[in-house]
Subunit: 418 residues, 2 copies
């Protein structure tokens, strides 16, 4: 059915339709925020780091850089990872509530609406609450935990809807409403209840679509109950909600690419992002790259695709601590030979975005990318650094195309056309 | 009428609307499957070949690499060439039947439906055919020729529809149904008659659209007659059909680019692909690059655009014979000065895809590209190789944009906007 296929290709994307079975194994290492800028007026964090193993690998690999979202666009962790997983990060946007929930370790399902919350202080005037501090004086995280636990214990059932509140740092929480069955699209179109300034009354969770009415009723009842539970608290006596959102509709990684994929990550956010696309999250003891490689070895026979996430490169970058970032790079370099010993057919090393210590935050800069397989030219770059990767055979490519290259190098794609 | 023009541009593509007349001449040399990978752990076929003329040209040319279809996508010959001719290979997909027909030397018109066939062996049980060998024991090509000739001689007229069967290798054929007038779109939406496994009855060519009903009647009648003709054969006593398809609707090369274009190719497939976009196919004696350049000289005054196709680089690559591929590259290098002597305004040298000997087949790797004209920077690459082209001024570009560059370098495009 040639013509039928033709139409299908245009609708669904070429690559999914070329996927063929294979027993090759792909490892994707994400050094979070790996890209950098010169920190000593000359060299970037990657250039300063002593990385004999990475250097050796770079010399025989395909190298280049990727642009996570678009030229000049600084990505958050959500779009950065979705793009690496082969999903268009503009087409598939993850709502704030869902991202916050994932980051705080909540699993998000198709039956759920998630929302960010912050504890606030209100005064009751004529029986009506008026916000006097939107952050409840930035209560200590410990106090947040205690209060959140109280809510989870006392809130009870909400008309058959399960509610989970997860404590974050200081005044922040994530709230998850789990309905008995999957919700129609548009169920998350509710207005924030945070009035955004003091001296005002908290708002109701007003639905903006008919589908959101049920969620609005449940959220309204939840907030009413919470305000009763918190009435006795001194500072955090109210909860404001922002960013209601549902899990975005996405075909699963397995369905699109035919890969049994797992995630070996330490932080909840990255486990959550991997689970959003249907990867299995592997639990393990420890939190160092060495621990992660040990678990990789343990589950090596169970999967085709291994997403290994190293967080600390980004954390130190965010702190502006370039020495710390350099040390994490060198720590990864020491475990790299153990990954190679497993004999992956394809090994990719990159980041989800750049986090230059100089900027103390995520940035828009293209991210170094290395792909090692038997089917590369190699011989173009002497190291895995921003400037050496510029010389490589991959050029500067959109991040969402990296999966195509990993599948191709793993000989998991058929020929297109005859 | 800015908006009107704006809409027009979006619908029809910018470049066609900028085309202006000129008497400049463009030569496009396609060294089929030219891109490679290291074969001796270090050098690719292009790097091993001794190519003094290509080297000299590369030093004064614009160089780069192109991606035929998309990152990681391995193209067949069809999409590879359409992209080089400036047609989006995903938008314009050539059906299997049409491609097979072109490859076996049949001309395909707008009145035609083409389909792939394979001779099969059936047993008649209770008067009904049951497939016992889908490939008729892979009969020798000679036997195929004899049987095909019998069918063409004996089939006669099918309700005003002309039928042509072309023999391929072993059990393979292409069948062309030529109707008296152009067929509506969707006339090729018929199910395959090949049941895909032995022990089953061959299927009817069931129409999936109302437009396909007429073709289904003709194909059904054809198959009925063929089964009678072949009844006396021992092995090839039945014909199974797969991949009914029509010539894709495309604006012609001449209409889009204002170029009188010709094709100088040895193999039917490439003549067929060129004729699909409306190039004139030049007939000539001989089959070496030298013969092809001789004919180029002969028709030099008759055309503006010359598509010269060299096949053997791909053939040796497919065989994994890198020495053979190197020799063809060197053979081409020796005739290159004769092409330059003709004084083309623009000379482009590239491939339709990569065929690394290491992979013994087409691959997804970017393809070296060289454009020689008076209007290039040059001075970036010392040779025409994968790695030297990476340093070039063209970067890594989509193949479908190459025609833009050839037209621009031939001063055949007006300014866009004021």
């Amino acid at each position: 059915m040639e013509v039928g296929n033709g139409v299908y290709f245009k609708l669904m994307g070429v690559v999914e339709d070329l996927v063929q079975p294979s027993d090759t194994k792909i490892v994707l290492v994400v050094l979070d925020g790996i890209g950098g800028l010169p920190v000593d007026r000359e060299r970037t964090e990657l250039e300063i780091a002593e990385t004999p193993n990475l250097d050796r690998l770079a010399r025989v690999s395909a190298t280049g850089l990727h642009i996570p979202v678009d030229y000049g666009v600084t990505p958050g962790s959500g779009p950065g990872h979705l793009a690496l997983f082969g999903y268009d990060p503009i087409e598939h946007q993850i709502g704030r509530g869902v991202l916050e929930a994932l980051g705080l370790g909540l699993e998000v399902r198709e039956t759920d609406v998630a929302v960010r919350g912050n504890y606030a202080t209100v005064e009751y005037r004529n029986g009506k609450p008026v916000v006097v501090d939107r952050r409840a004086g930035r209560i200590p995280t410990e106090e947040n935990r205690r209060i959140t636990e109280r809510i989870n214990r006392e809130i009870g059932d909400l008309d058959g809807v399960e509610v989970k509140v997860a404590p974050g740092a200081e005044h922040r929480v994530a709230v998850l409403f789990r309905f008995p069955e999957p919700l129609p699209e548009g169920s998350d179109r509710l207005r924030d209840t945070d009035p955004q300034s003091v001296g005002k009354e908290p708002l109701d969770p007003v639905p903006e679509t008919p589908q959101a009415e049920r969620v609005a009723r449940v959220a309204g009842e939840f907030l009413r109950k919470v305000s009763e539970i918190l009435r006795s608290e001194k500072r955090a006596n109210f909860l404001l909600l922002r960013g209601f959102s549902q899990k975005p509709k996405m075909r699963s990684f397995k369905d699109r690419f035919g890969l049994r994929a797992c995630c070996v990550a330490v932080y909840p956010m990255y486990k959550g992002l991997a689970s959003l696309v249907g990867m299995e999250v592997v639990s393990f003891e420890g939190n160092t790259p060495e621990d992660q490689v040990r678990i990789l070895r343990k589950v090596w026979n169970d999967y085709d695709f291994f997403f290994l996430h190293i967080k600390k490169t980004d954390s130190f970058g965010e702190d502006g601590n370039w020495r710390g970032k350099v040390e994490v790079i060198e720590e990864f370099d020491r475990v790299l030979p153990q990954i190679l010993e497993l004999g992956p057919d394809v090994l990719a090393i990159t980041g989800d975005h750049s986090t230059p210590s100089k900027l103390k935050g995520h940035s828009w800069h293209p991210v170094p990318l290395l792909i090692y397989s038997p089917y590369v030219l190699g011989g173009t770059s002497s190291r895995f650094t921003e400037r050496e990767c510029l010389k490589g055979e991959l050029g500067i490519i959109p991040a969402k195309k990296i999966m195509n290259l990993l599948l191709a190098n793993a000989l998991r794609l058929k020929k297109f056309g005859a």
